[in-house]
């Protein structure tokens, strides 16, 4: 969980970087929700599955990368 990272400060730095990545995406016109950070332990299989499902559903709702979509249509 946040703050309990084995690598101590690593999770906070990663949080900042993911935050920055979201901002960069938003600036250029892509949805910031296409990238996300979750905190969990490497042994927590069920939680990982839960997150993977959540993210899959989110991405499906957002739709494919509009650039790839357009290229496919062309």
């Amino acid at each position: 969980m946040e703050g309990e990272c084995h690598y101590l400060e690593g999770n906070f730095r990663a949080k900042s970087r993911v935050g920055r990545a979201k901002k960069l995406l938003q600036e250029l016109g892509l949805e910031p929700d296409r990238v996300e950070m979750y905190n969990l332990s490497s042994s927590d299989g069920p939680k990982f599955a839960e997150i993977a499902t959540e993210m899959t559903e989110r991405i499906k709702a957002l739709g494919p990368n509009p650039i790839k979509k357009r290229e496919k249509e062309e």
Binding site: L24, E27, L28, G29, L30, I67, R70
Partner: protein, 222 residues
């Protein structure tokens, strides 16, 4: 060092609207330290611009170059070949850098990706603060090395004003009153008497108020 920050993305996009092949020039000195225009930031901006253009159904070709400093002719000269291939140069340097590139590459539009803010330092990670306004008439020997011209909201040299309270500035209560800082420092040094000197009317002609500034040294000219 010079502190700058990247302009809003939309503003940069609009500047580049007419161009399909651009040279992004980063700078390895001040703007690298303030995470505005170094190698990483240049790569990220180039990537953002390409993706954003693709989202519009169009294309932009980006060429990247990082030089040690954009404020010296010798380093700027290294860009010659790449510059000639591009329709415009997007400088991620401070204002001095942009001017230098524009003067060197007269036939190519040179655009600023940054807003130059002030002369300052990284006070803490991620926080930059102004320290000097280049007034040309340094009085830091009288104020414990702390500059009131830069850091007093009113630029008072015989300060403080009547609004200083509990060490905070009346203009912005989150700002420290620099005169409190100066007082504390001189008191600790046993030099409060420095503050008894009446600083007479200043010569502002060497500051930004005096207009375009230039100086030369005969012993250093060729």
């Amino acid at each position: 060092m010079i502190i700058a920050e990247r302009k809003p993305f939309k503003e940069i996009q609009e500047m580049l609207a007419d161009y399909d092949k651009i040279l992004l020039v980063g700078c390895g000195t001040c703007v690298t330290v303030c995470y505005a225009g170094g190698k990483k930031e240049t790569a990220v901006l180039a990537s953002q611009l390409r993706i954003a253009r693709k989202l519009q159904g169009k294309k932009i070709e980006t060429v990247e170059a990082i030089i040690e400093r954009q404020c010296e002719w010798e380093f700027v000269e290294e860009l010659k070949e790449k510059a000639e291939e591009c329709q415009a140069i997007l400088s991620l340097g401070c204002g001095a850098g942009v001017n230098t590139l524009a003067e060197r590459f007269k036939d190519i539009p040179v655009l600023p990706a940054l807003n130059t803010r002030f002369i300052g330092i990284p006070q803490e990670q991620g926080i930059w603060e102004e320290k000097c306004v280049a007034c040309g008439n340094c009085i830091l020997h009288l104020t414990g090395g702390i500059c009131p011209v830069a850091r007093c909201s009113k630029g008072l040299v015989n300060g403080p004003c009547e609004g200083s309270r509990e060490g905070k500035c009346e203009v912005d209560p989150s700002l420290d009153c620099v005169w409190q800082i100066i007082y504390d420092r001189l008191k600790a040094l046993g030099r409060l008497s420095d503050l008894e000197k009446i600083i007479p009317l200043r010569d502002w002609s060497k500051s930004a108020e005096g207009g375009f500034r230039k100086f030369s040294r005969e012993d250093m000219t060729l």
